[in-house]
C-alpha cells in the first residue's frame, strides 16, 4: 500500500472488523507533516506506553522497519514520533506494528496549529524565566557590593552594568505582563498585570535615570527579582493547564473523522466528514457511532442513544427511524440516509448552544483580577498623594518627591498577590489529580467553591449508563449454562449485564447461535432451540406463559420450556448516594434534570432522596432550567456526561463530567473525574473550599504586608535593600502558606461504601434480545 491517498476503502474486503481499518487508514494519511528532508513526520498517541521498557521495545521494533528514518518515544506525553519515507512505508504499517506490540496508537493531527502555538508559548515562558533568573542573580551580586559600601566610580560602574543587564532582560522577560496589561487597558479593564507592569517599568526607568546621573539608589534588582518570582507562578500555572489538556485529549476515543459512504453501484468508499452531503447513504457497522444525522434506509439494529439524549434504554432502529450523530449502533448493520451535513448536525447544534452559553459565563472575574480592581486605584492614588505631600514638604523638590512616589509603587507591587492565586491553584490541581479529577482552569476552583445548587444529569452521571440485572428467574443450572452461551455471543448491554449477573457456572455448547437485531439471540442446544431477548419474540417458542400479563422486558426460554423473565435496572454510580447526602448536609440543594422518561427519573430521584426532578428535558430545556436558577441568584454546579448535557455544562456556573462521558461533554466541563465514584464531586468541592480559604488568607497576608510597607515608603525610608528584603519575604510567606493545601484530607472518606450495587428497577424495559 502506498501513501498516495487512493481509494483504500474499496480495496479491502467488506466486513465489520475491516471497516475500522478503512477509517484508520484514511485518517492516518491526512495526519502527517512533510519535513524539509523529504520524509513525512507522523506523531502517534499511544496511551499504553508507561515505562522505560516500553520505550526500548517500541524503538527497537520500529527502527529497523524499511523506510523509517527516525523514531522516538516520548514517555511523558505517551507519544511516538516517526519520520517516514513516503515512497517506501506508510503510516498504516507503523500503526499496525505498534498495535502488534500491544500499543494501540492513534495519529495526532500535526495540522493542529493550536498545538504548535501552545508549545511556542510554553517555551517562551520558560526562556523568560531563565533570563529573569540570570539577570536578577547577577544584578543582585552587583547590588550587594553597592549595599556593602561601594562608592564613587565603582558604584556608578556597577549601576551602569546593572542597567546593561536589566534593561534587555526586563524587555524580554516582561513581555508576558506588558502584553496582558496592555490588552486589559485597551478594553478599559484593570487586571493584576497592570500594577505589575507599571511598577516594573517605573522601577527600571527611574533606576536608569539614577544610574546615568550618578545617583546612589537603583532598583534594578527589585525589578528583575519581581519578574523572576512572578514568572515562576505563571509557568507553574501554564504547566498545570498543559498537563490537564494532554490528559483530556488522551481520554477522547478513537472517533472517526469520516464515514463509509455507499456509492450508487453498491461499493463502499471512505470519505472525510466534511465531504459528506445530505442524500448520501452511509453504512454504520455494529459497535460504531453514527458520524452524521440521518434516517435509517435499510437494516435493523438496536441503538444506544444514552450519550445523545440521556435515554437509558437502547431503542430499536428500523427503516424510517431518525437518528442523531453520536448514537451508538449496537447489534446490526445500518444503512443511513444522511439528512444533514456534519456542520449542521445535532452535534454542531449542540456546539453552537455551548458557545452561546459560554459567553454568558465570560462575565466571571477571577479573584485575582477582582483584587486588582480594588488594589490598583488604591496604590496609585497613594503614590499620587505621596508625591504631592513630598512636594509640599520639600518645597518643590520634584526629584525627591517623584523618587518616593515610585519607591512606593515598587514596594507595593503585588508580587505576593500575583503569586497568591496561581500557587494555590497549581497545588489544588495536583491534589485533584491525585483524586482522579482533572481541572481545566484555576478559575474553575474559585467558581466551584461558590456553587450553592447542584444539578445532576441522570443517565451516565448518577447511573453508570450500563444496565444491571435486578431480578432473574433463570435458576436451573442447565438453563443458566444456555443463557450464558447466548449472552456471551452478543455485545448488547443487556446481554453483558446478564453475563455479569450469571458469573458462576458452566457455559453450554450450542450451534447456530445468531443475533437477530432488534429481537435477541437464538441458538440450538442439546435441549432444543433457545432464545434470549425481547419478551414477545421469546414467548413464540415458550410453553408456559404464566406471567404473560407483562409485555416488556428481557426474557429467556428453551423451546417448550417456561418463559423466564429477567428484570433490568440502572446501575447507580458508586458514591452517588453519599455525594448527594454530603451536598444536602452542606446546605446545597440538589436536583435531577434528565432527558429520560419520567418513570425512570422518579425512581432514581426517590432512591437518592432528591426531591426536585425534571424528565424529558431537551438540551435547550436544561439550559433554561439553569438560567432560571441563575435568575434566582443561585450559582449552579452542573454534573453531566452526554452530548445533550454539553450546553448545560457550559452554561452552569461550574461543571463536572465523568471521563466515561461524551467527548463534547468533557470538553465543555470544568472538571473531569476519571474514577467511577461520584464522590469526586464532594472531594473536588472540599479541595475548592480549602483553596478558596487559602487564597483569602494570602490576600490577607498581602494586605498586612502593605499596611507595614506603605507607611515606610510614604515616610521616604525605603531603600533598595529594604525593598528587596520586603518583597522576597512577602512572596515566600505567601508560597509557604499555599503549600498548606498539600496537607489534610480533601473529603471525609469515612463513609465511602464498598462497591455498592444499588439498583433501581425500570419497570417495563423494551430491551431487545
Amino acid at each position: 500500500m502506498t501513501c498516495c491517498g487512493g481509494n483504500i476503502a474499496a480495496d479491502g474486503a467488506v466486513g465489520v472488523s475491516a471497516s475500522a481499518d478503512f477509517s484508520r487508514a484514511e485518517e492516518l494519511l491526512h495526519a502527517g507533516r512533510e519535513r524539509n528532508d523529504g520524509t513525512v513526520e507522523y506523531v502517534f498517541s499511544a496511551p499504553d506506553i508507561h515505562c522505560g521498557a516500553c520505550i526500548s521495545s517500541i524503538e527497537r521494533a520500529i527502527r529497523p522497519m524499511h523506510g523509517v528514518a527516525y523514531v522516538r518515544v516520548n514517555l511523558s506525553l505517551r507519544r511516538v514520533t516517526v519520520h517516514l519515507d513516503p515512497a517506501v512505508t506508510g503510516p498504516i504499517e507503523v500503526a499496525g506494528a505498534l498495535a502488534a506490540l500491544g500499543f494501540p496508537a492513534r495519529p495526532v493531527d500535526l495540522g493542529d496549529l493550536d498545538e504548535l502555538e501552545r508549545k511556542r508559548r510554553d517555551s517562551e515562558l520558560l526562556k523568560s524565566l531563565a533570563v529573569a533568573g540570570f539577570a536578577s542573580a547577577n544584578i543582585m551580586l552587583l547590588s550587594v557590593s553597592v549595599w556593602s559600601g561601594a562608592e564613587g566610580a565603582t558604584r556608578d560602574l556597577f549601576h551602569l552594568i546593572s542597567a546593561l543587564i536589566a534593561i534587555p532582560a526586563v524587555f524580554y522577560a516582561g513581555r508576558v505582563f506588558f502584553r496582558s496589561a496592555w490588552g486589559a487597558l485597551r478594553n478599559g479593564r484593570v487586571n493584576m498585570d497592570v500594577p505589575i507592569s507599571l511598577a516594573i517599568s517605573l522601577a527600571t526607568g527611574m533606576s536608569l535615570f539614577e544610574a546615568l546621573t550618578g545617583g546612589d539608589k537603583t532598583y534594578f534588582e527589585a525589578a528583575t527579582m519581581l519578574l523572576f518570582f512572578l514568572l515562576i507562578g505563571r509557568y507553574l500555572d501554564q504547566r498545570m493547564r498543559e498537563r490537564v489538556r494532554t490528559a483530556v485529549v488522551q481520554l477522547s476515543r478513537l472517533s472517526a473523522k469520516g464515514a463509509n459512504v455507499l456509492t450508487g453501484d453498491g461499493e463502499m468508499r471512505y470519505l472525510p466528514l466534511d465531504e459528506i452531503e445530505p442524500g448520501m447513504t452511509v453504512r454504520v457497522f455494529a459497535g460504531e457511532r453514527l458520524p452524521v444525522d440521518g434516517t435509517v434506509e435499510n437494516g435493523l439494529s438496536d441503538v444506544d442513544r444514552s450519550l445523545v439524549t440521556g435515554e437509558s434504554l437502547p431503542v430499536t432502529a428500523e427503516a424510517g427511524t431518525a437518528l442523531e450523530a453520536g448514537a451508538m449502533n449496537l447489534t446490526g448493520v445500518l444503512d443511513i440516509e444522511v439528512t444533514n451535513t456534519a456542520d449542521k448536525s445535532f452535534l454542531a447544534e449542540v456546539r453552537a448552544m455551548m458557545e452561546a452559553a459560554e459567553n454568558g459565563r465570560g462575565a466571571y472575574v477571577r479573584a485575582a483580577d477582582r483584587a486588582a480592581r480594588l488594589y490598583a486605584p488604591f496604590v496609585h492614588s497613594l503614590a499620587a498623594i505621596a508625591f504631592v505631600a513630598w512636594m509640599v514638604i520639600t518645597g518643590g523638590d520634584w526629584h525627591t518627591s517623584l523618587y518616593i512616589a515610585i519607591a512606593l509603587l515598587i514596594i507595593t507591587c503585588p508580587c505576593a498577590l500575583g503569586l497568591a492565586v496561581p500557587v494555590v491553584h497549581v497545588i489544588g490541581a495536583t491534589r485533584l489529580f491525585e483524586n482522579g479529577i482533572l481541572m481545566k482552569d484555576g478559575a474553575a476552583l474559585e467558581r466551584l467553591a461558590e456553587a450553592d445548587e447542584a444539578v445532576f444529569d441522570k443517565t451516565g452521571t448518577l447511573t453508570t449508563g450500563t444496565p444491571t440485572v435486578i431480578g432473574c428467574a433463570i435458576e436451573r443450572p442447565s438453563d443458566i449454562a444456555i443463557a450464558r452461551a447466548l449472552a456471551a455471543s452478543s455485545g448488547h448491554p443487556a446481554s453483558r449485564a446478564l453475563l455479569t449477573h450469571l458469573d458462576a457456572g458452566a457455559t453450554a455448547r450450542g450451534t447456530d447461535i445468531a443475533e437477530h437485531p432488534g429481537l435477541g439471540v437464538e441458538g440450538a442446544f442439546s435441549g432444543g432451540r433457545a432464545r434470549l431477548g425481547r419478551r414477545a419474540w421469546v414467548a413464540e417458542i415458550a410453553e408456559d406463559m404464566s406471567d404473560s400479563d407483562r409485555s416488556g422486558g428481557l426474557a429467556f426460554a428453551v423451546e417448550g420450556g417456561p418463559l423466564l423473565a429477567v428484570e433490568l435496572g440502572e446501575h447507580v454510580r458508586d458514591g452517588a448516594a453519599a455525594a448527594i447526602e454530603a451536598l444536602h448536609n452542606a446546605g446545597i440543594g440538589t436536583r435531577i434534570v434528565s432527558g429520560d422518561a419520567a418513570a425512570q427519573v422518579a425512581r432514581l430521584a426517590d432512591r437518592l432522596g432528591v426531591t426536585e426532578w425534571h424528565a424529558d428535558q431537551s438540551p435547550a430545556d436544561k439550559i433554561a432550567r439553569i438560567e432560571a436558577l441563575r435568575a434566582e441568584g443561585k450559582k449552579v454546579l452542573f454534573v453531566g456526561d452526554g452530548i445533550n448535557d454539553a450546553p448545560a455544562l457550559a452554561a452552569g456556573h461550574v461543571s463536572m463530567a465523568p471521563a466515561s462521558g461524551s467527548d463534547v461533554g468533557r470538553t465543555a466541563a470544568d472538571f473531569v473525574f476519571t474514577r467511577d465514584s461520584l464522590e469526586a464531586v464532594t472531594a473536588a468541592r472540599g479541595i475548592a473550599l480549602r483553596a478558596q480559604a487559602l487564597v483569602k488568607q494570602n490576600f490577607g497576608l498581602a494586605f498586612a504586608y502593605n499596611v507595614i510597607a506603605v507607611p515606610i515608603a510614604m515616610a521616604g525610608m525605603v531603600t533598595p535593600l529594604v525593598a528587596a528584603i520586603a518583597m522576597s519575604a512577602s512572596s515566600i510567606v505567601v508560597v509557604l502558606n499555599s503549600m498548606r493545601l498539600t496537607r489534610g484530607d480533601p473529603a471525609p472518606a469515612a463513609n465511602r461504601p464498598a462497591r455498592s450495587a444499588l439498583a433501581v428497577g425500570t419497570g417495563s424495559m423494551e430491551a431487545a434480545e
Partner: protein, 47 residues
Amino acid sequence: MTLLTVLIPIALFLGLLGLGAFIWSLNSGQYEDLDGAAARILEDDED
C-alpha cells in the same frame, strides 16, 4: 578596582554561558520528555 575589570566580565560571561546553554537545551527539545530521559539512562544497549 583593576581586579574588578577582569572579574566582572568573567562573572557575566559565565552567567551568560549558563543562560545560553539552558536556552540551547530548551530549543533542542531536551525538556520535552523528562520521564523518558529518566528511563532511557537505564538502557544499556543503545544502538
